[in-house]
Symmetry: D5
Subunit: 146 residues, 10 copies
């Protein structure tokens, strides 16, 4: 069983049981963004979590092993086209140099890790229109001199 097949099985089970990513994540006691990304095949699950998910959604045999596999991360286009995703890319383009200035002013020469990293999505209610709040949290890694 390949990661892509588990993803399809999960999406099917989710539809049939009328679940949400948020609900599944709560069931597993993990964050919604991480759980969704692991279900979509972009992160590997630790054994205990994979086991819980397989039991909860009654996934077929082989699903646990596939969820635990280390994925080869890849995405289709260098510049994403779907408007929701493109706007994130636009933010990186418009604010990239700004973030470099501000982060390195605060932390020194180095980067925010995308590996030792977590992310969260929240909804901020607002009478003029609700707002999406994304929080990215990554370890600062200083460059090494040797």
């Amino acid at each position: 069983m390949k990661k892509i097949d588990v993803t399809e099985a999960i999406i099917l089970a989710k539809k049939e049981r009328n679940l949400t990513w948020e609900g599944i994540a709560a069931e597993l006691g993990m964050g919604t963004v991480w759980v969704t990304s692991a279900c979509l095949g972009m992160n590997s699950m630790p054994e205990a979590v994979a086991e819980k998910l397989c039991a909860y959604l009654e996934l077929p045999e082989g699903a646990k092993a596939a969820l635990m596999e280390y994925p080869t991360k890849a995405w289709d286009k260098e510049v994403p086209q779907d408007p929701l995703i493109y706007r994130l890319y636009e933010v990186v383009g418009v604010y990239g140099d700004t973030l470099k200035e501000v982060i390195q002013e605060k932390f020194g020469d180095g980067i925010m890790s995308a590996i030792d990293f977590t992310m969260d999505v929240a909804k901020e209610e607002n009478p003029k229109g609700d707002r999406v709040v994304l929080t990215l949290n990554g370890k600062f890694l200083p460059y090494k001199a040797w």
Copy 2:
């Protein structure tokens, strides 16, 4: 005077007076990310803010008008190469589909605006290594049916 010239003048004044972006932003009573981006030429400043900045840094004549101009936003490479910026692009690549799932589950069919949008950088102290916390806050825009 062009935006790029104002940017150079600001960076020079900032170095000579040993200021930080955070300090300049506090002086103006605005957010650090927004002030930095406007100083780098990626956002236009309202007149009152531009005036305050020109007075504070004693910028040359013409600076105020240039800071108020509406920029043509552009960035150099489709895939950014500087490691700090690339990691942000990588996050968009790895988590793009996940964010689409999670945001649209919470809000319906639509996008997070990159225009009616704010961003903040914070430092989370941590004995295992401090962490960078980015917060993106954008209005949700539902697609229109007509």
Copy 3:
């Protein structure tokens, strides 16, 4: 059932019953451009509209759910090749900077939304050759300072 399968089913039904996009749209009480784009899988349909369409064209079970799904918008080539579509791209290329000047002169710093957006196609009869009239109507979104 996937969006692409519904699209095929709709096109088949449309051919067999000798319908037009304009006729289908009138039946649904919605705009022709929007209805066509939703039928081609580029917009999601509200439940009531999807239901009406399924009944009108006697689409198979599962079609309603697929029409209501939020699409991942994507298109094939960065520079479109079909002459009808390329000419639109050429208009964006030739008049892009002009539109930025004229729109921002009228509205301030910001953009025309492509999300809170409608579009219409009309025919203008003309003895020297009929003319195509496209009307794009998008909410103006001002940039935020924070």
Copy 4:
């Protein structure tokens, strides 16, 4: 004198006299979009219009000839990055196939000319936020069989 030099001279004169593109166009008795595009070097001006503009803005000698020259139209990036312009490109991407369906249903096999073509920008006031209205008007050109 090259087109780019005339553009700079026009922009300078416009700033100094505090004019708008709309005002200049009204003075010349032509449309705002066309006048702006010709001033930015993307269209050639008929002699009478060029003469009027030179007189009105007191442009230097050589400006008239440069305004009348036939431009080589070119634009910088295949996928534009400035958000205002990118949204137009996104509209072409999302609605390209739809427009092909709807236009050819109304007119037959052919295209909307981008040469025998006019465009207009209007402001639609709206309590929920003003709206940008773009109108594109191009002659329909049927493909020839021979």
Copy 5:
């Protein structure tokens, strides 16, 4: 039946009956280049011509409708690789600016239409090696000022 299936059916019939494109075109009373392009799916056929072709080659049912459909024109690579086709692209590259100079000197500011357009291939016999003669004939379209 799709255009690509008709193309295959035509090529098969052409081989079996040992026909040439020139012969088929003569039978239909149309130009060889146009007939070939329509058979390859790059142009739509008027009903009368499609009917004649179907009868002549005894094409299967559904072929007529497919031949009459308006094609979405697309080609594989931005820079074609087959040497015969690449040489044409090379001609556009080497002589593009020259043709712009010469055509606009003769006709004014505008373009040669690729829609209201015909093309012909002839053989010029020559003792030093026969020569290919391509004739392109397109309506001149002047740019519009408005």
Copy 6:
């Protein structure tokens, strides 16, 4: 003196004396397209022609040698953007496979040379709008088996 400098000198002289490419070519007894391309730096001139041109336009010393140099042919973009030139590229895209079929049916396996090649532009008057007629004439080169 480089080819690009000669080109500028020629264009200046042409403007000052109010000449046309057609007139210059007639003076030299050569074709308009070839003369224009050589003046734009895309072909080398035989000594006698270069001499005649230098005398006719009173070009500066060094012009003759530069006109005779073998150019390195290059053009800016893989997909040309100026509408007049793009339409030629579109013709290659739409009709490339057709031309391969028709030429190779007439001549066998091989290509039309772009080196042993001439081209001509003519005006065909027409009450519905004048037409541009391009004639390309290239030696057929058969592939070699060895």
Copy 7:
């Protein structure tokens, strides 16, 4: 039968009979490079050669016609990745301008034909390591002035 099927059939027969390209070419009385390229589908075979090959390898019916067809030459990547092939591309990159200088110094303004062209591979034994010797032989084609 398509060219690609013949290629597979030839490779299978070659393996089963333990033949080499060199041996097959000797059998046909043609050059190894040309025979290999025709078997891989990149050149068309004259009827007599195709017949001989079909008999020698007992290829299925339809193979002869497919071998005689004029191929549409295409290759996968603009910059080849396999190290053996990339090195050839690197040679073109490093020595391209040099070859232009040296060939045009010897022959005048023109090119080496890739159509009226032959190529050969030989092995030069050498105690420090054998050497590959490629010989390219193409007709010089002078540019035409007209």
Copy 8:
């Protein structure tokens, strides 16, 4: 002094003294292709050769050191456009897989070195048109198993 300046100085001296690359190479006792490439800055010269060249052409001080520097090899476009150079690229495209088959059949798994490599250009006189003969000679490098 940079390599590019030496190249210009050499080309100037070569023109003034009416020399050829072949003549210069003979003077230095080295191959024409190698000498030309080193003069164009694509190879470094051993000290003795550089000295000889500087003396022969009376190059300015600093030329010797620049000729001896190790170049960073780079070329402008992935797909070269000048017809003479493009034809070489086309040969790599059309015959790349063929050369892989033939070379590896003769030598085993490995490549032809582009570093331990020489190249030569010769003229083959021929009544039907002279022919260019390129000889590439590179050490075969077998892949290592470890």
Copy 9:
């Protein structure tokens, strides 16, 4: 049997027997990196090694021949996206010019071979986090002057 099929068979056998690449390599008496690359189809195996592997993993008939075949090396994207692989590409980008300086200072003008080449991965234990140690070992190849 093709290389890709052998790769799948090896991965299956490896999972079922719970083996590691390191264990398989030890069994064959070869390096882990080389064995893995050959199993993934990126290197050809000498007959003795292929035989041993087939016996050890009980691979199906045809596997030995496929393992011995000379691969056409290719990889998917010019800029790899998986973070583990991208970091290697980033190292080449950031340190490429540095390595050129340092290697050529130590060895003269030439390159490190990627053909006569070995590579090794080791684990360096470290209380602050274990470290990956990659060792690349390639023959230095001096450029040839001729």
Copy 10:
């Protein structure tokens, strides 16, 4: 003073004093690769090291500050062309998937850091030709589940 100006000053001083990167690094008590990369502007120097270097090479005022600045890392081409650097890119292409397999087998799901990273170049003498030995040493970073 900008980083690029310091780089030029360093290279000049290095030439005039006939130094090597290795010698400069020894003087500073740091690794050769790191020192070279910092001198080329691809890493920032800690104050003490920058001070030492400025004193040693007698660099102009402003050099210390520029050496300490945090660089924006960028490199010219996605696929490097210089053969020495390209071979490294080729290694990443050919062995990328292999390294992923081997590293993750040894360490779990994660990556080798390119930030907490050191590199070394050594020469291995060998009678068949000396060998370049590159050692890359990066901290293993495990992916985080949250």
